[in-house]
Symmetry: C2
Subunit: 245 residues, 2 copies
C-alpha cells in the first residue's frame, strides 16, 4: 500500500495544506505511559494495582468528563483540570481515596509524560516538508508542549481545545483550527485513530485520514474506520508515503 | 557585558521557566522587509515610491489600528485584517488609491515575509535548551507560523493576541500566555525592544528583558529602556549568554 517517498501525492491529497493530529492514542501510547507513571508514583507508597486497568478506568472517564463543558453546564476548564476530576472519580474503586492532593497532581502529570508510537517522529518530520502540522487535541497547550518536547513533534502551532475553549467533537474545535491557519476546511486534514473524531471533522468540511492503532487498547481499538475517510494508513510513516509531494 | 555560555545564569534569572518574545522589531526587521515586498509588488505595476517611507507610514498606523479592539469598540479581528485596514488608510497619501483588492492582499502578506535579525536564530536555539519559548506578539497565528518557518524560530507554542483575542498591552494578552504554560507570571519573562510592552508585562507580574534594536527605525528606536527591567541586552545571543543555565 505504501509508495516510495519520491512519488507524487495521491490525487485526493490535492490542495491539502495542513494536517491536524489527534494525539492521545493516535500519536502517543497513553495506556502504557499512564500505567508506568502511576506505578512509579503509587508503588513506593505501598499500592499494588493492576496498572493497566487503572489507566483504562481513568480513560473510561474521558468522554463523559468533558461532557459538561460541551453541553455548557460548566465553563471551559483545561484537560489537566478535567483529568484530575476524572481521577478523583475512580480513586475509590482502586482503594486510593486517601491519597493526598499532591499525589493526585503528580498522577495527573502522567498524561504529560507519554511516549509516541515508533513511526511518529520520522513520519511527522517528512510530512513537515510539505504541510503545516498541528495537534488538534483535547489536551491543553502546556500538556501538548510537554509531549512535543519529549517526543520531538515538529509542530507549527498548538491548536485544539484550549484555543477553541471547547472539546472535540464540538464543531468550534475544528473550525477554530482551520481559521487559525487562514485556510479553508477542505485544505485541512484531520488524522486520527478514532472514527468519532473523523466523523466530526468531515461534518465540518475537513478531509480525514484514519491511522490504525491496534495497540492503543488491544481488543477495543478500531482496526478500520467506521465512517468514509479520504485516507487510511497503518502508521504516520505510511501517511507520509501517501502524501509526500 | 556578555559571559561565556557555560556560566551560570544570573541570580535574577532564578525560577524563570519561559521566555515570551515580541516579534515585530524585536526579532524581525519589519521596515526593510515591508519596503522590499512593497517594491516587489508595486514597482511592476509602475509605482515608484519611497519604499521605506511607505513601510514607516504603514507601521505608524499600527498602534491606533488596534485601539478599537482594545477599547471594545470592535470585536477581535486578526492582525492580518487590521494590517489591511491600516494599508487602506494610507493608500491615498501614496497615490495608491486605485490598486485592486487583490494587490492590497498581496501587500498585506508582506508582514508574513520578514527576516530575523542576524543574532536571533542562534540565540533562540541556545535559549530553547533551558526555557520554554513562545512569541507573545500581536501577530496572528498564521502570520507567526510563516515567520517561524522562514526564520526557523523553535517555538514551543504560538501564544499572543489571537489566543487572548485582544491586543498588547492589554493585560489579558500577558495573562493568557502565562496561563497557557501553567506558570506563575514571575516564571515568565517578556523580551522586547519596546518599553511600553515591557511596562505592561511588568505590571502583570512578568519579568522583563529589553533587547536593543537600533536598526528597527534608525533615529527613533529606543537605545535603552525607559522603565526598570530585569535584563537589558544588545541581542538575543547576549540574552542567551546571560540566561544560560
Amino acid at each position: 500500500m505504501s509508495k516510495p517517498n519520491s512519488a507524487k501525492a495521491e490525487p485526493s491529497a490535492d490542495g491539502i495544506r495542513a494536517l491536524f493530529f489527534d494525539v492521545f492514542g493516535t500519536l502517543v501510547d497513553w495506556r502504557t505511559g499512564v500505567a508506568r507513571e502511576a506505578e512509579a508514583v503509587l508503588k513506593p507508597l505501598g499500592f499494588h494495582l493492576d496498572w493497566q486497568a487503572f489507566a483504562d478506568a481513568w480513560r473510561d472517564r474521558y468522554q463523559p468528563g468533558m461532557e459538561p463543558v460541551r453541553s455548557g453546564a460548566m465553563p471551559f476548564a483545561k484537560l489537566d483540570a478535567l483529568h484530575l476530576q476524572m481521577l478523583q472519580n475512580i480513586l475509590p474503586s482502586f482503594g486510593l481515596e486517601r491519597i493526598s492532593t499532591s499525589v493526585q497532581h503528580q498522577l495527573t502529570m502522567a498524561w504529560h509524560k507519554l511516549d509516541a508510537w515508533n513511526d511518529v517522529r520520522a513520519g511527522l518530520e517528512r510530512l513537515r516538508r510539505d504541510y503545516l502540522l498541528a495537534p488538534v487535541s483535547n489536551g491543553n497547550i502546556a500538556l501538548m508542549c510537554d509531549l512535543a518536547r519529549r517526543n520531538q513533534f515538529p509542530w507549527d502551532a498548538i491548536l485544539g481545545a484550549e484555543l477553541a475553549r471547547n472539546y472535540k467533537p464540538m464543531p468550534e474545535v475544528y473550525r477554530t483550527a482551520v481559521e487559525a491557519f487562514d485556510l479553508e476546511p477542505s485544505q485541512c486534514m484531520m488524522c486520527a485513530a478514532h472514527s468519532s473524531d473523523l466523523k466530526a471533522a468531515a461534518e465540518n468540511g475537513l478531509r480525514t485520514a484514519f491511522i490504525a492503532r491496534p495497540e492503543e487498547q488491544p481488543g477495543m481499538s478500531e482496526s478500520s474506520p467506521t465512517v468514509p475517510v479520504n485516507f487510511s494508513a497503518q502508521s504516520i510513516e505510511e501517511l507520509a508515503d501517501r502524501l509526500s509531494i
